[in-house]
Protein backbone atom coordinates (compact mmCIF):
# COMPACT_ATOMS: atom_id res chain seq x y z
CA UNK A 1 0.00 0.00 0.00
CA UNK A 2 2.82 2.38 0.90
CA UNK A 3 4.48 1.64 -2.42
CA UNK A 4 1.27 2.44 -4.28
CA UNK A 5 0.86 5.63 -2.30
CA UNK A 6 4.41 6.63 -3.13
CA UNK A 7 3.81 5.89 -6.82
CA UNK A 8 0.65 8.00 -6.80
CA UNK A 9 2.35 10.99 -5.25
CA UNK A 10 5.24 10.56 -7.66
CA UNK A 11 2.73 10.83 -10.48
CA UNK A 12 0.76 13.71 -9.02
CA UNK A 13 3.46 15.89 -7.55
CA UNK A 14 4.53 17.32 -10.93
CA UNK A 15 0.85 17.86 -11.80
CA UNK A 16 0.30 19.89 -8.63
CA UNK A 17 3.49 21.83 -9.18
CA UNK A 18 2.38 22.59 -12.72
CA UNK A 19 -1.01 23.83 -11.53
CA UNK A 20 0.55 26.04 -8.89
CA UNK A 21 3.06 27.45 -11.37
CA UNK A 22 0.32 28.27 -13.88
CA UNK A 23 -1.82 29.95 -11.25
CA UNK A 24 1.06 32.02 -9.98
CA UNK A 25 1.87 33.03 -13.53
CA UNK A 26 -1.78 33.76 -14.32
CA UNK A 27 -2.63 35.67 -11.15
CA UNK A 28 0.61 37.31 -10.18
CA UNK A 29 -0.61 40.57 -11.71
CA UNK A 30 -3.98 41.76 -12.93
CA UNK A 31 -4.37 40.24 -16.40
CA UNK A 32 -5.97 41.87 -19.39
CA UNK A 33 -8.79 40.39 -21.46
CA UNK A 34 -6.26 39.54 -24.16
CA UNK A 35 -4.03 37.71 -21.71
CA UNK A 36 -6.94 35.69 -20.34
CA UNK A 37 -8.07 34.84 -23.87
CA UNK A 38 -4.55 33.70 -24.74
CA UNK A 39 -4.39 31.56 -21.59
CA UNK A 40 -7.78 30.03 -22.46
CA UNK A 41 -6.61 29.13 -25.96
CA UNK A 42 -3.38 27.69 -24.61
CA UNK A 43 -5.17 25.51 -22.07
CA UNK A 44 -7.61 24.23 -24.70
CA UNK A 45 -4.81 23.25 -27.06
CA UNK A 46 -2.68 21.79 -24.26
CA UNK A 47 -5.35 19.46 -22.89
CA UNK A 48 -6.60 18.41 -26.33
CA UNK A 49 -3.02 17.58 -27.31
CA UNK A 50 -2.48 15.53 -24.16
CA UNK A 51 -5.58 13.47 -24.83
CA UNK A 52 -4.65 12.98 -28.46
CA UNK A 53 -1.12 11.93 -27.51
CA UNK A 54 -2.39 9.29 -25.10
CA UNK A 55 -4.81 7.95 -27.71
CA UNK A 56 -2.04 7.81 -30.29
CA UNK A 57 0.07 5.78 -27.89
CA UNK A 58 -2.82 3.44 -27.06
CA UNK A 59 -4.50 2.81 -30.43
CA UNK A 60 -6.18 -0.42 -29.36
CA UNK A 61 -7.74 0.86 -26.14
Amino acid sequence: MMQLLTQLFTVFLPIYQDIVAKYKAAHGTDPTDAEIAAQFEAHVQEYLAEGAAWKAAHPSA
Binding site: Q7, I19, T32, Y47
Partner: protein, 130 residues
Protein backbone atom coordinates in the same frame (compact mmCIF):
# COMPACT_ATOMS: atom_id res chain seq x y z
CA UNK B 1 -10.80 5.34 -0.87
CA UNK B 2 -9.10 7.46 1.80
CA UNK B 3 -6.12 7.78 -0.54
CA UNK B 4 -8.35 9.03 -3.36
CA UNK B 5 -10.15 11.44 -1.08
CA UNK B 6 -6.91 12.94 0.20
CA UNK B 7 -5.53 13.44 -3.29
CA UNK B 8 -8.82 14.87 -4.54
CA UNK B 9 -8.90 17.29 -1.63
CA UNK B 10 -5.35 18.32 -2.43
CA UNK B 11 -6.33 18.93 -6.06
CA UNK B 12 -9.42 20.84 -5.00
CA UNK B 13 -7.36 22.93 -2.61
CA UNK B 14 -4.69 23.74 -5.15
CA UNK B 15 -7.09 24.64 -7.94
CA UNK B 16 -9.90 26.22 -5.92
CA UNK B 17 -7.58 28.58 -4.09
CA UNK B 18 -7.39 30.66 -7.25
CA UNK B 19 -8.73 34.17 -6.83
CA UNK B 20 -12.13 35.23 -8.12
CA UNK B 21 -12.12 36.71 -11.62
CA UNK B 22 -9.61 39.58 -11.63
CA UNK B 23 -11.22 43.01 -11.38
CA UNK B 24 -9.23 44.20 -14.36
CA UNK B 25 -11.37 42.15 -16.76
CA UNK B 26 -14.36 43.32 -18.76
CA UNK B 27 -17.59 41.26 -18.51
CA UNK B 28 -16.51 39.40 -21.66
CA UNK B 29 -13.11 38.75 -20.12
CA UNK B 30 -14.75 37.39 -16.97
CA UNK B 31 -16.72 34.92 -19.09
CA UNK B 32 -13.53 33.71 -20.76
CA UNK B 33 -11.83 33.48 -17.36
CA UNK B 34 -14.69 31.31 -16.05
CA UNK B 35 -14.58 29.15 -19.19
CA UNK B 36 -10.84 28.75 -18.68
CA UNK B 37 -11.40 27.51 -15.13
CA UNK B 38 -13.81 24.89 -16.49
CA UNK B 39 -11.28 23.82 -19.11
CA UNK B 40 -8.67 23.45 -16.37
CA UNK B 41 -11.05 21.39 -14.19
CA UNK B 42 -11.78 19.02 -17.07
CA UNK B 43 -8.20 18.97 -18.28
CA UNK B 44 -6.81 18.11 -14.86
CA UNK B 45 -9.35 15.30 -14.55
CA UNK B 46 -8.01 13.96 -17.83
CA UNK B 47 -4.43 14.42 -16.62
CA UNK B 48 -5.23 12.43 -13.46
CA UNK B 49 -6.84 9.65 -15.51
CA UNK B 50 -3.76 9.42 -17.73
CA UNK B 51 -1.56 9.41 -14.62
CA UNK B 52 -3.57 6.63 -13.01
CA UNK B 53 -3.38 4.67 -16.27
CA UNK B 54 0.39 4.88 -15.99
CA UNK B 55 0.42 3.40 -12.49
CA UNK B 56 0.80 -0.39 -12.61
CA UNK B 57 -0.57 -2.56 -9.83
CA UNK B 58 0.21 -6.27 -9.51
CA UNK B 59 -2.24 -7.26 -6.80
CA UNK B 60 -4.16 -9.13 -7.99
CA UNK B 61 -1.88 -10.52 -10.69
CA UNK B 62 -1.33 -10.04 -13.55
CA UNK B 63 -0.01 -6.51 -13.35
CA UNK B 64 -2.44 -3.97 -14.79
CA UNK B 65 -2.99 -0.19 -14.94
CA UNK B 66 -4.71 1.31 -11.91
CA UNK B 67 -7.18 2.85 -14.38
CA UNK B 68 -7.81 0.66 -17.41
CA UNK B 69 -7.16 1.80 -20.97
CA UNK B 70 -10.88 1.58 -21.70
CA UNK B 71 -11.78 3.83 -18.77
CA UNK B 72 -8.97 6.24 -19.60
CA UNK B 73 -10.26 6.55 -23.16
CA UNK B 74 -13.76 7.26 -21.84
CA UNK B 75 -12.39 10.15 -19.78
CA UNK B 76 -10.32 11.52 -22.66
CA UNK B 77 -13.21 11.36 -25.11
CA UNK B 78 -15.60 13.12 -22.73
CA UNK B 79 -13.04 15.75 -21.77
CA UNK B 80 -12.05 16.39 -25.40
CA UNK B 81 -15.69 16.84 -26.39
CA UNK B 82 -16.35 19.07 -23.38
CA UNK B 83 -13.31 21.26 -23.92
CA UNK B 84 -14.08 21.51 -27.63
CA UNK B 85 -17.61 22.67 -26.87
CA UNK B 86 -16.45 25.19 -24.25
CA UNK B 87 -13.94 26.48 -26.78
CA UNK B 88 -16.76 27.07 -29.27
CA UNK B 89 -19.32 28.34 -26.73
CA UNK B 90 -17.49 29.71 -23.69
CA UNK B 91 -20.66 31.07 -22.08
CA UNK B 92 -21.96 27.52 -21.65
CA UNK B 93 -18.93 26.43 -19.62
CA UNK B 94 -20.80 25.24 -16.54
CA UNK B 95 -23.46 23.12 -18.27
CA UNK B 96 -20.92 21.70 -20.70
CA UNK B 97 -18.42 20.88 -17.97
CA UNK B 98 -20.97 19.20 -15.74
CA UNK B 99 -22.37 17.24 -18.71
CA UNK B 100 -18.86 15.96 -19.52
CA UNK B 101 -18.41 14.75 -15.95
CA UNK B 102 -21.86 13.11 -16.00
CA UNK B 103 -20.90 11.35 -19.23
CA UNK B 104 -17.71 10.05 -17.65
CA UNK B 105 -19.52 8.67 -14.62
CA UNK B 106 -22.22 7.08 -16.78
CA UNK B 107 -19.73 5.23 -19.00
CA UNK B 108 -17.03 4.06 -16.57
CA UNK B 109 -17.14 0.49 -15.37
CA UNK B 110 -17.45 -0.22 -11.64
CA UNK B 111 -13.70 -0.26 -11.04
CA UNK B 112 -13.26 2.99 -12.92
CA UNK B 113 -16.05 4.66 -10.96
CA UNK B 114 -14.39 3.64 -7.70
CA UNK B 115 -10.96 4.83 -8.79
CA UNK B 116 -12.08 8.17 -10.21
CA UNK B 117 -15.04 9.06 -7.98
CA UNK B 118 -13.14 11.46 -5.73
CA UNK B 119 -11.48 13.23 -8.64
CA UNK B 120 -14.74 13.66 -10.55
CA UNK B 121 -16.37 15.00 -7.39
CA UNK B 122 -13.51 17.47 -6.99
CA UNK B 123 -13.90 18.65 -10.60
CA UNK B 124 -17.67 18.95 -10.14
CA UNK B 125 -17.13 21.06 -7.04
CA UNK B 126 -14.82 23.37 -9.00
CA UNK B 127 -17.45 23.82 -11.71
CA UNK B 128 -20.10 24.62 -9.11
CA UNK B 129 -18.03 27.38 -7.50
CA UNK B 130 -19.89 30.63 -8.27
Amino acid sequence: MLRNSLIALALLGVVACGKPAPGSLSPAGVRIWQADQAVVALGETQRIAIGLNGVKVCDPAPCHPLLSDTNTRIVIDAVSDGIGTIHQVPAGWKATGLAALDRIVARLDAAGKTTLASYVDAARALLNVP
